[in-house]
Structure formats: C-alpha cells, structure tokens
Amino acid sequence: MATKTEGRVIVVTSGKGGVGKTTSTANIGAGLARLGFKVVLIDTDIGLRNLDILMGLENRIVYNIVDVVEERCKLTQALVKDKRMPNLCLLPAAQTRDKSALTPEQMIQVVGELKQEHDYILIDSPAGIEQGFQNAVAAASEAIVVATPEMSSVRDADRIIGLLETKEEIKHYKLVLNRVRPDMIKTNDMMDVDDVLEILSIKLLGIIPEDQDIIVSTNRGEPVVLRDGDKVPRATLAYRNIAARISGQDVPFLDLDTPVHWMDKVKSFLKLGGAS
C-alpha cells in the first residue's frame, strides 16, 4: 500500500473512438485494485456512458457525476462499489445529459475531493477533442494514450499528444497499444509496436494483443484482468503488467510471438515474394 499521500490522477484518452479507452480504464483500474490499491474510476463520457457496463455495475447506479456537481447528492453517495473488490469504485456519467453539464472546474473540484481518499483516480475520457476531452484532462496529472496499430487511430493519437503537450498539469503520458495482432505483424500486413512508437515518439506503457476473451469479459461485466487460474488469456497478463508498471514495478513487455507450427513456417516460406 502506498503511504497516505494524495492519489495519482490518470486520464485515459485516445481521440478516436472504439480503440479501447473504456476497456483499458476498467482493466487497468481493476488491475490496480487487485494489487491492493484504493481505486476510483470516473466515467466522463456524459450521454454515452459505458464504463458501468464493462464493470458489470449498470444495475447499481443511483446517482452520477452530474448529480454530484449539481448538488443533488453527496460525492460518497454517487460512488458505486465494485461487486468483487471493496477497494474499487465507480463514479458514473449521466446518461440523459450532454457534455456541457460538466465543466473543467467542477472536475477539478470532484477529483480534488477523491484524491484524499484514493490511491488512483482513473478518468475515462470520451472520444473527440472537444469539451468532454477538456473535462477529462482538466484534473489529471498523467495520461494514458490508447491507440491501435491502424492509421486513423495513430493519427488521432498524434493529435491528442499534441494537445496533452500544451497542458502544463499533465506531467507525463505513455502509450497503450491495443488490438495488436502478431500474426499480421509477422506477415508485414500491420505496423508493429516499434513503428507506432517511432511515429508518435512516445514511451510505451503496455501492449494488448487482440483477444476474444475481452469481448467475453465485456459480455459478462467482468474485466478480463480479473480472470484467475493457471491458464489466463494473454490480455489478462497484459493488463496485469500495465497495472504493475503504473505502480512502479519493472515488468518486461509480453512476448506476443506464439510458437508457430512447422507446417505454417513452410507455407509462409513458400508464399514469400508472391503477391498473394
């Protein structure tokens, strides 16, 4: 456990939608809680909330962040306790309002209060670079940029990095590269991790392989990072490692190369040079 100082405030952002911001927020948050830290997740995607679904907490929401800033309830009343871990909770977004229902100043105030009681405050940012993004970033001092190795995602991530650099409060930011497909990298059909790092000139926090188990986990409302047992999905390990790195541990990056069957090696050799 960390000594009782103010909690770290980390915003999870990407620019482009659908690259895995919310999934990453849920899993990194649950991963940190799994390590024993006191964690709160904030959904700032007002009008399009989804973090509650990923956490399996959609039926437990009474109040939300807009109720808090409009003083219809106390902050502690709006926090939804996780089913599995008592040291993890969620501050949900309002579903029936829009982004203008929240201001950066209000975010700073809410987060300032949460910092006293929690080790980590993870803020899930909405897609885009408008007010929702400004709200999400306002109170943060660190950022996690989520991107996939696709052109549109990397381009938007570059734009986000440019914006983060203009924010004095953001001390540092790192990349989580999501939906990496080692099979496509091997056949030169997809940019690899180094390509993306070189283009964005950013430090790496973690690599998440494309994994069907993430969809299964979403359907069950249980973050994949919480899977247990001898044989867990690779995405579970990847998110566990990210949580450990954030907490200061030095964990090597996952080797995504799976052993290849010798027949596949022969096939890919014969295919060399062919325009398929």
């Binding site: 570059d158 030169n188 390509d195 014969l270 040079g273 325009a275």
Partner: protein, 151 residues
Amino acid sequence: MSDETPVQPIEVIESPAQPLPAVPAVPASPPTGRLLQWWIGLFQKMSAAPVIQPLTGKPNPFAQTMPATAKDEAKNRLQLVLMHDRTQLSPTLIESMRDELVEVISKYVEIDKSALDLSLEQESNTIALVANISVVRAIAQKPPDETAQAG
C-alpha cells in the same frame, strides 16, 4: 492485395476523348504441364525472396516486382499525413507558398517553374521544408538591395 492502379477522376474529366488503352493480346500459354508450371512459379517466388537477392547483389531477372507491404505503406502514408497535421500546412497552402516562391526566386534567377518541387520531410525530430529548384540560368542583374546601397 489489389494490383489495380486507382483511377484519378480529374484525369478522366480532362480527357474524355482519350481512347481506352488497347488490351494486349493474351499470349498463348506454352504447353507446359501444371506441375512444371508450379515448379517454375516456385522458383520465381524463391528467387524473389529477400534472402536470396542480397547474395547476388544485383536485381534478379526472375524476380517479380515486389509490392510495398501494407505495413510500409501505412507507415509512409501516416508519416506524410502527420507532417501536414503537425505543421498545419495543407497541400493547398503549400501550393500557394510554392507559387509565391517561384515569383520571388524568378526575380534573381531564371528557373524551371514547372520543376519546382516543394515538400515536407521528416528529419529525426524536426520537420524540414525542402525545395528542389532547377535553375536554368542566372539573370544578369544586381539584386535590388545592392543597387539601392550603391545609389
């Protein structure tokens, strides 16, 4: 992967009367057996493989021209697009800068206006604006600054 070249709509509009390119006659396929054809194909593919090419040191006559991989294409396109994004210079802005540059440079030297190439290039951490100008000949006159000083 498709080997079709994308049709540029502008060209089609500008030259509607252009006849369609003649379809080359399909050469009659040699009476080689299927197995033999497979072996020839395999030989061509293997000789095109990057493992073999560096050993010979010169372009392999059997090698088919290898298309750029999707990975490289993505990387190159992305780097170009990001240079424009980061500098906030659109191709139209570069075009108008090009026109003004031609005007200024033409005061001093005679240049091939059509050959002026202006582009953004990435050099490690900085972005460079590179102009490639071919000079036809110098115009025999003093630059306006010096004449002003002399007078």
